[in-house]
């Protein structure tokens, strides 16, 4: 069976007519399908080629291919024209759209916690003091009754910058710096960064925030310390909170305590956060050791005082129910936007 070769000229004319009518991208697409789609005119021609007698097939095939190339070129040209027309024909800017609100930054949860701690203590008559992150052996250890050979130096693994110069391991050096400059009464808190050589895990990072507290005057006693810590806990976490003090040891206070808050998450009934004890350890405190007073030239027979520390990160973690301290230092915006 043989077939008549298609009339390529006729087909080209028809195609030209179709293309001539296109003035929008949508119409152009319809025409493209009519010509080059699976059932399109040109596609039909190509399909028919196989059925032609062998002697005419090469010549007609060549013509048909050229025709297809011409049509494709014409389509592409038309497409370029219609899309350019579209851009020109549509408005560039809609003045009636509401403006985009720029995203506002906010305080880091640790900053928020420090501000809250400062507010509470200011309300109780404390001033905010600061000290350098890079400290000397003297302020970090010696003046705090922790001489070179003292086993308490084992308690913290220290980053040394140079011989005798280190990154402070606690905020307690601020006590010394303040007392050296000022006579009693002294009533300060000192929030800030501290550094220890800990391997990061869910509850340790090598740099962390502490807040130091110090009150020195005549006849300051353990009862004052208990009072101020309890008042602080209630202010921060509400009136139901309980505080407990356990005897402990620090070289720069005597007697020393560690203090715990009742677990705010399970309210004392036991949960993973408090390791089922119902209590969350906050930090240490105590009555300033007379040796520390001697180092700054205060007379321990006249003055007594208390000092306390508190882990700012830990308080932030309890307050915002964060279970991994590292989250606070990764600065992932998806995390920070939640506070």
């Amino acid at each position: 069976m043989t077939t008549q070769p298609p009339d390529l000229k006729e087909i080209e004319k028809e195609a030209q007519d179709l293309l001539g009518e296109c003035d929008t991208p949508r119409k152009l697409e319809e025409v493209r399908v009519k010509l080059l789609g699976r059932k399109g005119l040109i596609t039909g021609v190509m399909r028919e080629l196989g059925r032609l007698p062998a002697e005419v097939r090469p010549a007609v095939g060549k013509e048909a291919n050229l025709l297809r190339e011409r049509i494709e070129a014409a389509l592409a040209e038309k497409k370029r024209l219609t899309s350019e027309e579209k851009e020109v024909s549509e408005p560039l800017f809609d003045y009636t759209l509401p403006g985009r609100t720029p995203w506002l930054g906010r305080s880091h949860p640790i900053t928020q916690t420090i501000i809250e701690i400062e507010d509470i203590f200011r309300g109780m008559g404390f001033e905010v003091a600061e000290g350098p992150h890079i400290e000397t052996d003297y302020y970090n250890f010696d003046a705090l009754n922790t001489p070179e050979d003292h086993p308490a130096r084992d308690l913290s693994d220290t980053f040394y910058v140079d011989k005798g110069i280190l990154l402070r391991t606690h905020t307690s050096p601020v006590q010394i710096r303040v007392m050296e400059k000022k006579s009693p009464p002294v009533r300060i808190i000192a929030p800030g960064l501290c550094f220890r050589r800990d391997t990061p895990d869910a509850s340790h990072v090598p740099n962390f925030f502490q807040t130091e507290g110090l009150y020195v005057d005549r006849e300051v006693s353990v009862t004052d310390l208990k009072g101020v810590i309890t008042a602080f806990a209630r202010e921060l976490f509400g009136p139901k909170i309980k505080v407990r003090f356990r005897p402990h040891f620090f070289p720069f206070t005597e007697p020393s305590v560690e203090y715990d808050f009742s677990c705010m998450i399970c309210e004392g009934s036991g949960c993973p956060v408090c390791k089922r004890t119902g209590w969350v350890e906050i930090s240490g405190a105590g009555m300033v050791d007379p040796e520390v007073f001697k180092a700054v030239g205060y007379d321990p027979e006249i003055y007594t005082g208390y000092a306390f520390g508190m882990g700012v990160d830990r308080i932030a973690m309890i307050k915002y129910r964060i279970n991994d301290i590292r989250l606070l230092y990764e600065n992932d915006l998806r995390f920070l936007r939640q506070f």
Binding site: D149, D154, V222, R246, H248
Partner: protein
């Protein structure tokens, strides 16, 4: 530091607090208990069996068919262990029992012979590493007794955080004393009685201290003709439950007394001393010494050495030497109970990067007055468990008594610092 509740109970027979209460009392008095857990797995239904009869299995010559007396009745059980013998006391897991590794005991037939229960190895019981031979118990155990009871496996381990100001709490007696002060009972010190015989210790060893600052006191005893062998199971198990590897009776006793009294001791193989003397001196700069952990160490003049007059035998208060270590062939022992000063010990330990149970205590501060008691306690245990003849008298080189500071307590000052009035009577009662 790890503590055994049973041990505390032996030191305070009238202790009325259970392990949880002890933990709570200690935590609230300043020695925080970080964890409390059972010393060993305590599977029910494992009993002491007395092997009455052992026959070769008719179908398999590497299996044995045994008749085991478990008190009221006998069980027939098939066992493949190479060290099984007639007359042994063994640990038998009864049918129905689940071992710590999850294996469940069933009555079964092994190649046509009925077998009930299983004779267990240490490893199967979860109390040791030996898994290829069965555990053989001491002959004194009565068939049918539960294994947990026979080996005193039922115990609680308390892990404590002892603050650096309380080196007196680094022992069972120390913590027991603390519990008594908290109203837990009355302290009963362990037995220290032993028999002396033969010649005077002083004619067998001469002690000289060159550096009395580093070593204010050195006491020595000589015990002749001891038999070194493995420790009894109760001692080995208790030490291991507290994290100390059992080595041999004499070495274990020095560790036992360290955990009991808090005073570090050292036992030397006295036949390895070139001279009959102990000289405590500073190391020469660069002096080399091979410690018993097999490491060669270079010392500075900060280090204090125990020597036999010339050659070092130990780094004072830190670690003994390999050459004078007590071994299976040791016959004669020199028992050291000394007091080394904290800064000296600490400096050397830091310089060498070497921390031991002994250095940990000396650098925090041992009690020079505890040296004699610890020595007597160890001597008593050595005589009991390793035999031997304890020479007469203790050589006690203590040139200048360590002065104890007097602490003055001013009631007025107490009120000022504490903020409440504490009645004289209450104050006196607490300090008792």
């Amino acid at each position: 530091m790890k503590l055994s509740y049973n041990w505390l109970k032996e030191l305070i027979p009238n202790l009325s607090w259970n392990p949880e209460q002890v933990a709570e009392k200690l935590t609230m008095s300043g020695t925080e208990v970080e964890s409390l857990h059972p010393a060993w797995p305590e599977p029910e239904g494992i009993v002491v069996g007395h092997v009455k009869e052992v026959k070769t299995h008719p179908e398999a010559k590497n299996l044995k068919v045994c008749q085991v007396n478990i008190g009221q009745k006998r069980l027939q059980t098939v066992c493949g262990a190479s060290n099984l013998e007639r007359g042994q006391r063994v640990a038998l897991a009864l049918p129905g029992v689940k071992l710590p590794d999850g294996l469940e005991m069933k009555e079964a037939e092994i190649k046509g012979t009925k077998s009930a229960g299983m004779i267990c190895s240490e490893k199967e019981l979860g109390i040791g590493e030996v898994g290829d031979i069965i555990l053989v118990l001491d002959d004194e155990f009565v068939a049918g007794t539960s294994l947990a009871e026979a080996l005193r496996l039922r115990d609680s381990i308390l892990e404590l955080e002892v603050t650096p100001n309380r080196p007196d709490c680094l022992s069972h007696i120390g913590i027991a004393r603390e519990l008594c002060a908290l109203g837990g009972g009355t302290l009963k010190l362990p037995e220290t009685h032993f028999r002396e015989a033969g010649i005077e210790t002083a004619s067998e060893v001469e002690v000289e201290i060159e550096d009395v600052v580093g070593c204010p006191r050195y006491t020595a005893r000589v015990i002749k003709g001891v038999k070194i062998r493995p420790s009894p199971k109760w001692m080995a198990l208790r030490l291991e439950s507290l994290g100390i590897r059992s080595i041999s009776n004499v070495v274990d006793i020095t560790n036992w007394v360290l955990l009991e009294t808090g005073h570090p001791l050292h036992a030397f193989d006295y036949d390895n001393f070139a001279q009959r003397r102990v000289l405590v001196r500073r190391a020469k700069p660069g002096e080399r010494f091979l410690t018993l952990d097999g490491v060669g160490r270079t010392l500075s003049s900060n280090s204090l050495l125990i020597t036999d007059g010339e050659t070092p035998v130990a780094i004072a208060g830190i670690m003994g030497g390999e050459k004078s270590e007590v071994s299976g062939s040791t016959r004669n022992i020199l028992l050291e109970s000394a007091y080394f000063d904290p800064p000296t010990t600490r400096r050397t330990s830091k310089e060498l990067g070497l921390v031991s149970e002994s250095s940990y205590r000396f650098e925090r501060g041992a009690d020079p007055e505890n040296a004699v008691f610890a020595s007597e306690r160890a001597t008593r245990l050595i005589q009991e468990l390793a035999g031997g003849e304890v020479l007469k008298g203790l050589v006690d080189c203590y040139p200048k008594k360590v002065a104890f500071p007097k602490v003055k307590l001013r009631p007025q000052r107490v009120s000022t610092v504490v903020g409440i009035e504490i009645p004289k009577e209450e104050s006196r009662k607490t300090r008792r």
